[in-house]
Symmetry: C2
Subunit: 197 residues, 2 copies
DNA sequence: AAAATTAAACTGAGTACTCAGTCTGTTTTT
DNA sequence: AAAAACAGACTGAGTACTCAGTTTAATTTT
């Protein structure tokens, strides 16, 4: 593995676990074995390291998302939603450091002044919400999901699932204990209840 | 207003908007008009300022919660839930800086090594989740809410509402546009559907 | 009521330290 | 030998916190 990639990976871990500001170049140099000069040879600034992490992660998530949608077939939209929630939680476990980073304030503060950062973040979030929206639209087509405003409800489902991830990352509650109830709650929220009579 | 209180209020605003680490004592000194020495006369360390902010905020939230529960009467548990959600969003608007602070990583990182911080945070979160749980229990007593595990579902509702607050605070989506749909989604999730036949 | 005493609040220059980023030079690759 | 990659000492700005001393306010003594 090239020094540049070693630096990127270590920086992602440190920025996620300790925060951007609380990670010094000296520390990054020490953990990677690369001299500080080497780091600044590959990246112009500390911020540039962060932006490249975000770009790489975005591409990896889009890749994982495509792999997920390709390999799965669901009977109904509501089952697709179960799968989407599971996928998000699976991804949060697979890329825990990145999700930790996404739950820090730094990316959003940078996004307010840096359009490149904003675009990366938007791509990532749109990708996530799209997953849920597509499940809802599919469910509405096959009749398993009620006729609700798809995008809005997708956002609400996203806040639920992402909130669970936050609980887990911040060690607030045992997120695993809530998983089944989360799936069941989503079903009650979305399911089509045919009007009788 | 005493210097000490001026310092506390300014520190809350700065810690919330800029972050704990990114707020220097020099800046706090400048915005309050108090010399740096004065700040350290009133607080032993920078961290102590944060802990006192948390303690004060906790007391204020408990006070607001009591005022809320005293002055309201609801017909059914499900209506009480609507009120609880509105209360949370109202509080998040009233004490925006504090909610910004609560959505930073610093409090939770400190909580992992500082038991006083952890206890303050637990009191605050338990208070919030209690509000939702009480509504669910009331609704189950009067038959308006389905027999679900009250605490777990209360946590899920909390993640939804707090997620909406996060959207608003981080300027990710227009939270106001989701309010009505959030209330409706919660109702679908909780409502008792009597079995016919 | 004026003066003397005490205590609390406040000040800002100073301290030791950390930081991102630079500079100069060496090694490795082409 | 030229170019790319690497190394680490160095810089100057910024950091939380200290301390010796000053100002202000309250209390006691005359």
């Amino acid at each position: 593995m090239k020094k540049k990639e070693i630096i990127l990976r270590a920086a992602m871990q440190l920025f996620a676990r300790k925060g951007f500001k609380d990670t010094s170049m000296a520390e990054l140099s020490k953990t990677t074995g690369a001299a500080e000069g080497t780091i600044f040879y590959h990246f112009k600034t500390k911020q540039d390291i962060f932006l490249e992490i975000l770009k790489t992660a975005k591409e990896e998530i889009l890749f994982e998302f495509n792999r997920y949608t390709e390999n799965r077939q669901f009977e109904t939209g509501i089952e697709m939603m179960d799968g989407a929630i599971s996928f998000y939680l699976y991804l949060a476990g697979l890329k825990e450091d990145f999700f930790l980073l996404l739950h820090r304030r730094y990316p959003y503060e940078l996004a307010e002044v840096n359009p490149v950062c904003r675009q990366h973040l938007e791509s990532i979030y749109n990708c996530f919400v799209d997953i849920f929206e597509q499940a809802i639209l599919a469910g509405q087509a096959d009749g398993s999901i009620a006729p609700l405003p798809a995008r809005k409800v997708a956002l609400i489902v996203f806040t639920m699932v992402d909130g669970l991830v936050r609980f887990k990352l911040y060690n607030l509650y045992d997120a695993g204990a809530l998983f089944n109830e989360l799936i069941a709650s989503c079903r009650r929220m979305l399911e089509n209840k045919p009007v009788t009579g």
